[in-house]
């Protein structure tokens, strides 16, 4: 009888932890590697760069040439219309863009996950009400809301994060709700309920951790979206107040001088935005691969 046990062999784990395997699968996606490299490079550029390339980005240099071409006077990327060094400005602007994007993306994911998990788990009329609120929110264009807000108040980084987070949690909420609806019928959730586990425990310990795939993948897209949104708003002139800046604001200022051929005012900032958004999207795609296969061979 005991020999029959051998017929059923446990999946081989042979020293390779699930984390290792996930990492291997992530790295097997070439675009994911590209995305990771891009984001890491940009982070180094924005946060470490200013230590190597010293510029004054709080007061314009009144002796510098305005709109000087790249290479002139030790400005590798030239200067802008106020005499700021463009390369240095790109780094400082990147700091705000990436900070706002990351923080807003994370905030949106956290709010969305909690909202969606609770709505899906509780169900019934609570779910109906919560999801109608989401529907209503999605019906209001986020850019419009941001523009109104920025005319009323003076935007700061913190405010931008809060507002962006508050308008972009809607999509993750929908995704997580759908996930939560299916997870709550799984037998491991029933098993917790059957031994008298509380609702809070069920949601926190069993439902939310099992949505982690959807959650993380969506978060990367949220970050990319938030960076774009900051750029839109700044581009429309309603962003952060000078001397603070971000990539979107740099574009706005630069666009005035494109006719005089000052390409260095818009190309670098535009390229940074495109690279960041692509980078985060590639990472998201790579992570999706990692989490999708879970059902298949783990």
């Amino acid at each position: 009888m005991s020999a029959v046990v051998e017929a059923e062999t446990a999946p081989a784990v042979g020293g390779v932890s699930p984390g290792r395997r996930a990492l291997r699968r992530y790295l097997s996606n070439r675009l994911a590697i590209v995305g990771t490299v891009i984001i890491l490079a940009l982070l180094v550029f924005c946060f470490v760069g200013p230590l190597l390339h010293h510029t004054n980005q709080t007061q314009p240099d009144i002796y510098a040439d305005l709109n000087a071409a790249p290479g002139v006077d030790g400005h590798p990327l030239g200067t802008d219309d106020l005499g700021y060094d463009v390369l240095g400005r790109l780094m400082v602007g990147g700091q705000t863009s990436i900070t706002i994007g990351l923080a807003a993306g994370i905030l949106a994911t956290v709010i969305g996950t909690i909202w969606g998990a609770v709505a899906g788990y509780v169900g019934g009329w609570v779910d109906v009400v919560m999801m109608r609120i989401v529907d209503a929110g999605i019906a209001i264009p986020a850019t419009f809301l941001l523009l109104i807000l920025s005319t009323i108040t003076r935007p700061s980084i913190q405010l931008m994060i809060l507002v962006l987070g508050a308008v972009s949690w809607l999509v993750p909420a929908r995704l997580i709700r759908a996930e939560s609806l299916s997870i709550k019928t799984r037998e491991y959730v029933l098993a917790v309920r059957a031994v008298g586990g509380s609702h809070a425990r069920t949601v926190v310990r069993h439902i939310v951790p099992n949505t982690i795939g959807t959650m993380i993948v969506n978060a990367t897209f949220q970050v990319a979206d938030a960076i774009l949104l900051v750029a839109y708003v700044s581009f429309l002139g309603m962003g952060l107040q000078p001397p603070q800046t971000d990539w979107g604001a740099m574009l706005t200022r630069g666009i005035t001088y494109t006719y005089s051929g000052a390409w260095w005012l818009i190309f670098p900032a535009g390229l940074c935005i495109v690279l960041t958004v692509c980078g985060f999207n590639f990472i998201g795609d790579g992570l999706r691969n990692v989490f999708d296969v879970r059902g298949r061979d783990l």
Partner: protein, 582 residues
């Protein structure tokens, strides 16, 4: 059926010679079939049996050329003189459906829900032949009546969802038969069906094979199915064929050690007393008497249902899933609950766990009323700590993101009882439980996907008994497992029950499994209990007509007993009292 030996003179329809299949994924090569040779002759049913992972389904897919692109195939597969592995995709397409047809496991997904039944059968015909519409229609009706679908004219215009599961599978078989193929490959054709329906489909296959020269390659894991319809059987194990022979020889005198172990692991019912059953008039004893419950045990009961009715509501419509059920389970007693899908047996189990609201009557757990509530009172929680539960699917009953240790420790955390206070006490208890279910202690840090199905179900058992419950509810605990694994899990459950003396409500559709576990058995049909009694009584000489049909339909791995059941089945269904309301 008379053909116990293959007609040596006849040319085989299908000749598999040294077939090997392996899959490559992520740089690794996983062998699935390891050089098998097999022949199928005209008009015979050859059963290919084995446990999951033995390579039987891969073999059947190789025959009809539907293996995924990650498969490497070598060897020879010859169908009526033509080599299939050398045939190109176009040639294969012409052969598939015409010379070799396939019947899949799940009839609902094998049929297109947006096409009428008639159109789907017609498609199979017109794919391969030029045929006038009137002629096609005539043949569709003929096929439908041949597979025993009543009112074929009406059904041909209907859609798959308007048919019952058994009728859908008949339609799938009709599609396979459409062009009069030489070989029909049926991959677990009855596994998704209830036993009584399974019996009807097996009868159909039996009839078709006997009345035509079409050969069947029947892939199954169920020895009872083999005994029922197959002429010859090939036993597969780890990609090899370990034994081939006539069914009676293999099942009664297996020569390979693996076949013997496999047959030993299959739970068997004692031979039913068909003479007694057939002598007694159907439903002769008043069913009321059979259902009568010994009232004396009520007070002492671990779990009691008192005139319980349970409703499901969906979109305003109410469906009564359980109707006026009374049943008591004494302390330390194992009560089996059998019935087909939709009979309400799982619903009853979930009501006992307080997961479903009870419309009428009451469920009492050790005298404490169980109700579904939004928040549990202290007394409710106390009562719940007295129940453990084991679910069917070991894949979904464990949280994939928790280690085995935290899965088992969770009930201890919820109820901070004698075992739950302090991390050290909990760890000790977890290790003790792992020992109890005979799992190595170092499995505590593994994740569920790193365990096999049987090991996962043991973890489920350990979690269920973590709080030392007085009642265990086991809802189809082994129906997702292979027979040999099932035998081990049942052994584990039995020894735990002997050690901790908990009462158990054992829900299953498998009569033999229930017989091997339960002291008493209750039979459910459409939300009602039609018969209750000791296992021996109910499962060898049932009184209720439905219980009798259920018993007659349960496949037995013993060919003699199976033959007896087949005749009993014919006798029982002849009066046509038990026809399902299609």
């Amino acid at each position: 059926m008379s053909a116990t030996t293959p007609p040596a003179a006849a040319e085989p329809v299908l000749d598999i010679d040294g077939l090997a299949v392996s899959f490559h994924s992520e740089g690794r090569v996983v062998p699935a079939v390891d050089g098998i040779s097999l022949q199928v002759f005209p008009g015979e049913v050859l059963a290919l049996v084995g446990e999951s992972g033995s390579g039987k389904s891969v073999t059947s897919l190789a025959v009809i050329g539907l293996l995924p692109s990650t498969a490497d195939v070598s060897g020879r597969v010859t169908l009526a003189g033509e080599s299939l592995l050398d045939a190109g995709e176009q040639r294969m397409n012409r052969l598939r459906g015409k010379d070799v047809a396939m019947v899949f496991q799940e009839p609902m997904t094998a049929l297109n829900p947006t096409m009428t039944v008639g159109a789907q059968i017609a498609e199979a015909i017109t794919n391969h032949e030029r045929c006038a519409p009137a002629e096609v229609h005539r043949r569709v009706i003929e096929l439908l009546s041949r597979v025993g679908v009543p009112e074929p004219e009406v059904r041909a215009k209907g859609y798959p969802h308007e048919l019952s599961g058994g009728q859908r599978q008949r339609v799938v078989i009709a599609i396979a038969l459409a062009c009069g193929p030489r070989l029909i490959v049926a991959d677990e054709p009855t596994t998704a069906l209830d036993v009584t329906i399974q019996a009807e489909i097996l009868d159909l296959i039996h009839r078709l094979a006997a009345s035509s020269s079409t050969a069947f390659l029947l892939v199954t894991h169920n020895m009872g199915v083999v005994a029922d319809v197959a002429d010859r059987v090939a036993v597969m194990y780890q990609g090899r064929i370990v034994e081939v022979g006539a069914v009676r020889d293999v099942l009664q005198h297996p020569t390979a050690a693996y076949t013997r172990r496999l047959l030993d692991a299959v739970p068997r019912l004692p031979a039913a007393q068909w003479d007694v059953i057939e002598a007694a008039p159907a439903g002769g004893d008043a069913p009321a008497a059979a259902v009568a419950e010994p009232d004396a045990g009520m007070r002492e009961a671990a779990l009691s249902f008192d005139h319980v009715s349970i409703d499901y509501r969906r979109g305003g419509a109410t469906f009564r899933a359980v109707r006026d059920v009374s049943l008591a389970i004494g302390r330390g007693e194992i009560v089996g609950l059998v019935g087909e899908s939709g009979s309400g047996k799982s619903t009853l189990g979930r009501a006992a766990l307080g997961l479903l609201p009870v419309a009428e009557g009451s469920v009492r757990l050790l005298g404490h009323e169980v109700r579904q509530r939004l928040a549990l009172s202290r007394a409710d929680k106390q009562a719940r700590s007295q129940v453990g539960v084991v679910f069917q699917d070991p894949g979904s009953s464990l949280d994939p993101r928790m280690t085995v240790a935290s899965v088992i420790a969770e009930p201890l955390l919820i109820h901070r009882g004698p075992h739950g206070s302090g991390r050290r006490a909990r760890t000790a208890r977890v290790l003790e439980l792992l020992d109890a279910v005979e799992l190595p202690r170092d499995y505590a840090l593994r994740y569920p996907h790193e365990l096999s199905g049987g090991q996962r179900q043991r973890v489920g058992l350990a979690r269920a008994i973590a709080l030392d419950p007085s009642l265990l509810i086991a809802d189809e605990p082994t129906s997702a497992l292979d027979v040999s694994v099932q035998a081990h899990v049942l052994d584990a459950l039995r020894s735990l029950q002997e050690r901790y003396r908990f009462a158990c409500l054992f829900i299953s559709h498998d009569l033999a499994v229930v017989h091997s576990m339960a002291d008493r058995v209750a039979v459910m049909l459409r939300g009602e209990i039609v018969e209750v009694g000791t296992s021996q009584d109910v499962l060898t000489r049932p009184r209720d007509p439905y219980s009798r049909r259920l018993l007659a339909a349960a496949p037995s791995p013993d060919p003699d007993e199976q033959l007896r059941r087949r005749t009993a089945r014919a006798a029982l269904t002849a009066p046509a009292t038990g026809r399902r309301p299609w």
